[in-house]
Symmetry: C2
Subunit: 329 residues, 2 copies
């Protein structure tokens, strides 16, 4: 029997530090355009010292999804590690202000709250240099019957595997979840992350994870295929529910013999302001439909609608009540 | 003989905490739409706890002007008090990254770095609830021959008078300035601030301040007049250089018998994105022209051009090289 929480996120709690840079800057720091690189504290200081004036806002992929899910009207909770410092207080404030139930106390000592230096180039692409700080100290002890509870679903992110105890705490969370009838969803984060942890991801997807939410490249990296038809064929071998986003090609839901193709909404390139957070927003919309027991085709429409709205605004988070006036077809 | 710095700002070093709210929220916290209210730490916590997710960025009126002046290509320095905490490091980083020479070390203890809760309503207006924190600890000891140096101009803001030692440190800065041939400019901050400190402002403007930069309401509050003609008449009695901004009516420069009327650029209401920082940007452009020994009519054109650009973008800070292609008429 699950409790009143519909979605519990377990992920890296990160404050984004956003600044505009030119491509030369990326060359100078040796960053590949559009990539996400994990960096240590010294490197974080180095890069920050070279960066121009920045804007700070709460981020993190699954944290964004949980925030979006809360703004859609869902009941949410969150497990992520921040230090009791100003950035940690900012992160917790922003989540709590949306009604998200924060399950861990802020750490009194240890590494500072994580930050991701988000370097935005003139083409609108984002290159991320992420210092995980306090996130790396998330551990097995933080995952318990008390902190996990019995939500309708938990959502893990691939980036959790970048934490030393990540795979172990994911396994523990899954065990608690399945004891309580909680569904387990996994967002694959990014294709480089899938490359880093492929074997472990495959093992978890075969045993433990119920729903996989990812973009086409991430799923293709998971099953090591070249084109989308091959990817779909490879998924025959899995009995999970897959929600696969494909940018302008929409999304495809695969679940056993069922396959739902959801076209993207027709958004012209002039209408696209910022594609950041489109995947997180899709995930929020899809899971919100799922948590409300809607048919998968409706869940896909919710996901698409949320992603479509988010790319037409600055910043990756879903505004309150976005789905209030939306009617599924 | 002045040194290589063209503009030194002395002001409240503040990080803005921006969030969208509805007018009901303003009613609930008892804030008047469009006002700036000084609050204490407890009240700051209360309001923050009630606010939705926020974005953090360096702010402060004269700090914005100094940042803008630096982005125009000017040599700048800054005196303002932050604590050695994450927000203080963010503030200093953002200024230093523009090449601003930060003159004070971060305070190792005392109140935390100041923040202004900037509550943005659907009409685009900003209501500010400001906790001055570390700013209140700026004192006489921070103003010395070493920290002030011998810039071409210093720029004080009216808000400095909200600090206990504000008037005294302003007087000390002016004495150092005048000993070195440095010109003294004062931005009047806001008309409520002028109401709070009118007598002292009048005294300083009559004795010490060379240039007054302010909007029409602030100057009218200073000289206690009702309409703009009366205000202009009252200024006959002062020998300062006044640069007075009048929103859509442009600006007027008054200096002795000289009066320059600078019309605003024709910006349609649809083109206006966010009027925040227009006054700070005008101030940066005007002083940049002045510091480069341009005629006052050119300074006014610079100010207008900077303000016009800033209101057509989100956020109040001038982009690098804004005046590079601008040609005075």
């Amino acid at each position: 029997m699950t409790d009143s929480i519909q979605l519990l996120g377990i992920s890296n709690a990160i404050v984004d530090v956003l600044a505009h840079v030119d491509e030369e800057f990326l060359g100078d720091i040796g960053a590949e355009l559009g990539s996400m690189t994990l960096i240590d504290q010294n490197r974080a200081h180095e890069i920050y010292n070279q960066m121009g004036p920045a804007t700070e806002m709460s981020g993190g992929s699954v944290a964004n999804t949980v925030a979006g899910f809360a703004n859609l009207g869902g009941a949410t909770a969150y497990i992520g590690k921040v230090r009791d410092d100003q950035l940690g207080r900012i992160f917790n404030h922003d989540m709590k202000s949306l009604g998200v139930d924060i399950r861990l106390p802020k750490a009194a000592d240890g590494a500072p709250t994580a930050r991701s230096h988000v370097l935005i180039t003139a083409d609108g692409q984002r290159t991320m240099q992420t210092y995980l700080g306090a996130c790396l100290e998330l551990g097995l002890a933080d995952i318990s019957d008390e902190t996990v509870g019995a939500p309708k679903a938990i959502l893990l992110e691939g980036y959790v595997w970048d934490i030393a105890e990540g795979p172990a705490l994911a396994r523990k969370a899954i065990e608690i979840a399945h004891r309580n009838g909680t569904t387990v969803a996994l967002s694959l984060s990014d294709s480089f992350c899938v490359e880093r942890h492929r074997d472990s991801f495959v093992e978890f997807v075969r045993d433990g994870v119920d729903i996989v939410i990812a973009d086409e490249d991430e799923v293709s990296a998971l099953v090591e295929t070249g084109d989308f038809d091959d990817t779909l064929a490879a998924l025959d071998d899995f009995d999970n529910l897959f929600a696969i986003t494909r940018s302008a090609k929409g999304s495809v839901i695969v679940y056993g013999d069922e396959k739902i193709v959801q076209p993207a909404a027709g958004v012209s390139s002039e209408q696209i302001v910022d594609t950041t957070g489109a995947g997180d927003a899709y995930c929020a919309g899809f899971l919100f439909g799922w948590a409300n027991d809607l048919p998968l085709s409706h869940c896909a429409q919710y996901g698409t609608y949320c992603a479509t709205k988010v790319i037409q605004q600055l910043g990756g988070r879903i505004e309150p009540g976005l789905l209030d006036d939306f009617e599924v077809r």
